[in-house]
């Protein structure tokens, strides 16, 4: 299991301090009572392409739900339906009991959405972008300038506050977009790959901030991501979409136990790597990865196969430094689900989101 983020004190963080994350698990928190976000039997197509097919998904207050899936699986369509930018062809969508299309202004006033596209205007300065968001979302004027300043500093944009965003790097724009989304302090956050353009340090800060928002402020968060480690770290629940349908829904640990078989890491002398790889490959159903230091990693090697592996390596008289069992991860789950779907139906047709974006 990867290490949880460590304490990170902030003096004036506009979003909750990350220190609450120290030593705590991001998962296993109590699930919510009533659904804040509810999609019931929702279908949506774009021309001939089915984006969502009879999808039902409920998210409770304070839950952090990860939406996983290939490009075109229906993640963006789901977010746009929840935000009232699309109307379902059939089924119902409810956000805090309201219809996001008919009650759009009321719903969006409490919702912060970070779409895949930028929400900041390149022709305005960073400060002007935040001021605009504050005015449009009706953020209280009292102390607003100080809050914007603090937000800019907190997202490491303090020294570029009065520069046009067009000159910013993609990571800076992403940080500013997040600052804009968080400034009105929304109760619901729909985030489409919030850390995709960020460097590791900034990505970690954002993850801490999101964890704090969920844990301390009980914000409801839907996180679309391709970063499975991020989903495992942040999410109470993970929903895997494929071709507009849910193919898995549960806590990361439960999904790992149900679908993942774990893996094995073997470290041998450099001279024995090729032979060792051959032996591991005979037992592992998937690829065997190797690094330059004599380490091999393979997924799909269950606990029952470990003694066999040890026997074969010993019989080959290889110099083995370490054999370590790897717990099943969300990545294993995702790959296993994808592999089983491919076996059952052939390669997944990707293109729903592409069609939406066309």
């Amino acid at each position: 299991m990867r290490a949880k983020p460590t304490t990170h004190e902030r003096g004036h963080a506009p979003y909750p301090a990350a220190s609450v994350c120290a030593g705590e698990s991001y998962v296993d928190r109590p699930s919510a009572e009533a659904p804040v976000l509810a999609l019931d039997h929702v279908s949506k197509s774009f021309g001939q392409v089915t984006a969502l097919a009879d999808l039902s998904l409920h998210v409770g207050a304070g839950e952090v739900v990860g939406l996983l899936g290939h490009n075109g699986a229906g993640k963006t369509t789901t977010v746009r339906l929840l935000a009232g930018l699309l109307a379902p062809e059939s089924g119902t969508v409810r956000v805090a009991g309201g219809d996001p299309v008919d009650d759009g202004p009321g719903v969006r006033a409490h919702m912060g959405v970070l779409p895949a596209a930028l929400v900041v205007d390149g022709r305005l300065t960073a400060r002007q972008n935040l001021r605009f968001a504050a005015d449009v979302f009706g953020v209280a004027q009292d102390g607003l300038d100080e809050r914007i300043d603090a937000m800019l500093v907190d997202f490491d944009l303090g020294d570029r506050a009065d520069e046009r965003v067009a000159g910013f790097s993609s990571g800076m724009r992403q940080r500013l977009s997040l600052a804009r989304v968080l400034l009105p302090d929304p109760h619901i956050l729909l985030l489409d790959e919030p850390t995709s353009a960020l460097d590791p340090v900034a990505a970690r800060q954002v993850r801490r901030a999101l964890a704090s928002l969920a844990q301390e402020r009980r914000r409801t968060i839907v996180l679309c991501t391709h970063d499975l480690a991020e989903a495992e770290l942040l999410c109470d629940r993970v929903v895997v979409l494929e071709e507009g349908r849910i193919v898995a829904d549960g806590r990361p640990v439960d999904l790992a136990a149900e679908h993942g078989s774990g893996g094995v890491q073997v470290e041998v002398a450099l001279a024995d790597v090729d032979r060792a790889r051959q032996i591991v490959a005979e037992l592992a159903p998937g690829d065997v990865d190797r690094d330059g230091n004599g380490r091999l990693r393979a997924t799909g090697v269950g606990r029952d196969l470990l003694p066999v592996l040890v026997q074969r390596l010993a019989a080959a008289e290889l110099t083995v430094y370490e054999i370590r069992r790897l717990d099943p991860s969300l990545e294993d789950v995702y790959l296993a689900l994808h592999a089983s779907r491919n076996v059952a139906t052939g390669p997944a047709v990707t293109g729903t989101d592409a069609a939406v974006r066309a």
């Binding site: 746009r80 935000a83 759009g104 969006r108 001021r131 605009f132």
Partner: protein, 270 residues
């Protein structure tokens, strides 16, 4: 009505426009040519063309409405210049608000799509009608303001150019005032309506601008008919044409606004 949010969108769009060379430069150059350079040259007509014979001017004056010809000075040498600035070139005045309403609205509507910022705007609590209203205000008000400033400059330059010969102010005439204060703003509104309608389908500012560019044609028709003497613009005719433009604007804006619903725009997001 969420006035704070509407003001924010208007302020944002105006801030962006003021910082855009692509908009500011034409905003200075085009009115400078149409409404400053041309009347200045017209005032110099006697110098450029030589003296105009009384017989030539008599034939021209015969074609004018009596109240218009009565307004000209009695000197045939200056009548040509007076005629140029009060009748021939004055119909250019509505071109400026029409042109700028077209450019600004195309940038404000299709431009958001082109820059990829539309989704961010749709994700705000603004109602559809508030969003469109803000965009219309941000396009129409500056266009009309530039048109009025241009008309004022035109009158000042034309008077400066012609006054040494006529010894009196020739502008504003009633027709000029109606064109500046009524025809320009209403034709600008019609141009906005056309852009709103074409923005439903357009994915870029350029595309919207080209499709919407046809709205300049009615103004060109007015200029040509006036210059060739087919139709001479009188105050009643100008007032009626302004009303027609207003009706066209209302119809186009209503149709365009209905098509520019959030979910329709959502369907077309990239």
């Amino acid at each position: 009505m969420n006035t704070r949010a509407i003001r924010a969108v208007v302020k944002r769009d105006l801030t962006v426009v003021m910082g855009s060379k692509g908009v500011v430069l034409p905003a200075l150059i085009v009115p400078a040519i149409l409404l400053v350079l041309l009347p200045a040259l017209a005032g110099l007509t006697p110098v450029l063309l030589g003296s105009v014979s009384a017989a030539d001017m008599f034939r021209v004056l015969e074609a004018l409405p009596p109240e218009a010809s009565a307004r000209l000075s009695g000197n045939p040498a200056t009548q040509a210049a007076e005629l140029a600035v009060t009748y021939l070139l004055a119909p250019l005045i509505p071109i400026v608000p029409v042109m700028f309403a077209t450019v600004l609205a195309a940038d404000a509507l299709a431009g958001e799509k082109e820059r990829g910022t539309l989704e961010g705007l749709l994700l705000t609590p603004l109602r559809d009608r508030e969003l469109i209203l803000a965009k219309l205000i941000a396009s129409w008000v500056p266009a009309v303001a530039i048109g009025l400033v241009g008309a004022t400059l035109y009158a000042v330059v034309a008077n400066i150019a012609v006054m040494p010969q006529t010894g009196r102010l020739v502008l504003p005439t009633p027709e000029f005032a109606v064109m500046a204060l009524w025809v320009g703003p209403t034709f600008g509104a019609a141009a906005l309506g056309a852009i709103v309608l074409v923005s439903v389908r357009s994915n870029s500012t350029q595309e919207a601008f080209q499709l919407g560019g046809v709205v300049v044609l009615p103004v060109v028709v007015i200029v040509v008919t006036q210059a060739t003497g087919v139709v001479l613009l009188s105050v009643p005719l100008l007032v009626v044409s302004g009303f027609v433009a207003l009706v066209v604007a209302v119809v186009l804006l209503a149709a365009g606004s209905a098509l520019l619903s959030r979910t329709r725009m959502g369907e077309r997001l990239g």
